[in-house]
C-alpha cells in the first residue's frame, strides 16, 4: 500500500514538473487517436449502410403503405416470372420495423413513436446482371401498388470509394502523428529521468530493484497515453452524434448508415489500448539509455 502511494506520488510529481512536454504528448496522442477512431467510426457506418447491398442486391422496391395483399402478390408473381431477376427477398412490415429498431436503437423515443404499420413493405432484388438494374427498375416502377424503386448501387460505389480514400489519407496521418507522440513521450521520459538522475543514482546504489526505479516513469508514459486516448474518445463521441443527426434527417438511401453506442464504446476501448501502448512504449524507449548499466 505504501509502495502504491509512493508510485502515485512520484508519477504525479514528475508529470507536473514537465507540464508543457506532458501536454504536448497528450495532445498529439489525442489527435492521432481521434483520427484513428474517426476512421473506424466512418468505416463502421459505411459497413452498416452497405451491408444490405451485398450479394448482388441492386434495387429495392418499396410498396405503398396501403398496398393490399393482392398487389404484393402481383409484384411477387412478376418477380418470379422475370428472367432478369436472379433472386429476391420480401420484407414484411414486421421486418422493416425490426430493421428500424436496429438502426435507431439509441433513440427509444423514435422507436416508441413508430409502429410496424407506418412502414412500407419492400422487395430486395438481385438481378442476374448488374447492367440490367435500370431495366428491372423501369419495369416495376409502374406496377400498381409500388411506391418507389431505388437503385443506390452507383452512390454506394461512390461512398465506398470516398471512404477508402479517407481511410488511406487519415491512416497515414494518424500513423505519422502516433509516431511523433511516441517521440514526444520518449523525450518527456528522458527529461524526467534527467531531472531525477540523483534519485535514480541513489536508488541503484542502495539496491532498489529495476522495476521499482522504472514503474513511476512507465506510469507517467501510460498516464499521458491514456489521457490522450480519453480526449480522443470524446472527439469520437462527438463525431458519432453528428453522424446520428445526419442519418436521422436523411433520405431512404442513408437510413441504415447508423452507428450504435456499442460500436463507439468498442472503438473507444481500441483507442484506449493503443494510447496506453504508445505511452508505455515511449517510456520504455526513454528509459533504456538511463537505466542500462
Amino acid at each position: 500500500m505504501s509502495r502504491l502511494a509512493y508510485f502515485v506520488r512520484e508519477t504525479l510529481i514528475s508529470l507536473r514538473r514537465n507540464l508543457l512536454m506532458t501536454l504536448a504528448g497528450i495532445i498529439t496522442v489525442a489527435v492521432s487517436l481521434a483520427l484513428f477512431g474517426g476512421i473506424r467510426l466512418v468505416q463502421t457506418v459505411v459497413d452498416h449502410g452497405t451491408s444490405k447491398w451485398k450479394d448482388g442486391v441492386e434495387l429495392e422496391i418499396f410498396m405503398d403503405l396501403e398496398a393490399g395483399e393482392k398487389q404484393i402478390e402481383e409484384v411477387r408473381r412478376q418477380l418470379e416470372a422475370d428472367e432478369d431477376v436472379r433472386r429476391f427477398r420480401f420484407l414484411t412490415k414486421e421486418d422493416a420495423y425490426n430493421e428500424f429498431k436496429r438502426i435507431f436503437r439509441d433513440e427509444p423515443e423514435l422507436i416508441e413513436s413508430m409502429t410496424p404499420d407506418a412502414l412500407p413493405t419492400s422487395f430486395r432484388v438481385a438481378p442476374t446482371e448488374a447492367e440490367l438494374t435500370e431495366q428491372v427498375k423501369r419495369r416495376f416502377e409502374s406496377v400498381s401498388g409500388v411506391d418507389e424503386v431505388i437503385t443506390p448501387q452507383e452512390q454506394i460505389e461512390k461512398i465506398l470509394d470516398i471512404t477508402r480514400w479517407i481511410n488511406y489519407v487519415f491512416t497515414a496521418m494518424a500513423v505519422v502523428l502516433l509516431a511523433s507522440s511516441v517521440f514526444l513521450i520518449v523525450n518527456t521520459i528522458r527529461l524526467a529521468t534527467f531531472a531525477r538522475r540523483r534519485e535514480i543514482e541513489v536508488m541503484k546504489l542502495v539496491g532498489a530493484s529495476n522495476w521499482f526505479v522504472r514503474i513511476p516513469f512507465m506510469a507517467e508514459g501510460l498516464v499521458q497515453g491514456a489521457i490522450g486516448a480519453g480526449f480522443a474518445f470524446g472527439l469520437i463521441f462527438l463525431l458519432k452524434v453528428v453522424v446520428a443527426d445526419f442519418v436521422e434527417g436523411a433520405s431512404r438511401l442513408w437510413q441504415g448508415f447508423y452507428v450504435t453506442n456499442a460500436d463507439v464504446i468498442g472503438i473507444g476501448l481500441f483507442v484506449l489500448v493503443i494510447g496506453g501502448g504508445v505511452g508505455v512504449l515511449g517510456s520504455i524507449i526513454g528509459l533504456r539509455r538511463f537505466l542500462d548499466a
Binding site: K204, V206, G207
Partner: protein, 228 residues
Amino acid sequence: MIRFENVTKVYKGDVAALRDVSVEINKGEFVFLVGPSGSGKSTFLKLLLRDEVATEGRVLVAGRDIARLGAWKVPNLRRNIGCVFQDYKLLPNKTVYENVAFALEVIGRPKHIIRTQVPQILDLVGLSKKADSFPTELSGGEQQRVSIARAFVNRPLILLADEPTGNLDPATTVGIMRLLDRINRTGTTVVMATHDQRIVDAMRRRVLELDHGQLVRDQARGVYGVGT
C-alpha cells in the same frame, strides 16, 4: 567475505585498470585501499558493486561469483553493500531523515520498520537533532554522517567508502573515522579507499596498496607509505 581471484579489468581503449589482482578480505576486517590516482582503487570498488564486470578472473562476495548474477539479482547484492562517497550523494530536496528513509523506502521496507530504524541510525551517527535539516544546512562532516547513516541503515555486510574524508578537514576526519571504526566493530566489513596518509598511519589496519593496477603491498597493520 570478499575474494578477488586473478582479476584483470581492461577498459575500452586497452586501459588496464587492474592487473591480475588476487586478495581475500575476511568478514569483519577493516581494510585500507591506498595508491595514487589512477592506480585502480575505484575500479576495485566498482567491481565489488558490479558497476563493472572483470575482464578476467573472478570476484566473489559471500562465496558467490558476482559476474554470474543475473541483472535482476544485482539489486540484492547492493542491498548487502553500503556505499559512501567523497561527494556524499545526498538528495538536496529531502531532509536528513528523508534521505536516510529513502534508502529503505526504495527497497520496499515497510513503514513501521522505517520509523524505528531511521531514528536509531541517526542516533548512532550523532545527528538526531538535525533530522529535519536539509543537506545544505549541514557542515561537510555532518553530510558525510548522513551518507554513512544511509549506507548503514539497512545493516549491510560490507561498507565501501571511496575517499570519504576527501573533502573534510582533519578534525572532522577524525570523527568520521571513529564512526567507521564503530561500524566495523559491529561486524561489518569495511573497505576504504583513501589518499589520506595520516588516517592510515593512525589506524594501523590492514593496507592494500595498488600501483598501476597491480597489488604491490598487503600489510596486516600497515602505514600509508612504507618504503616510499
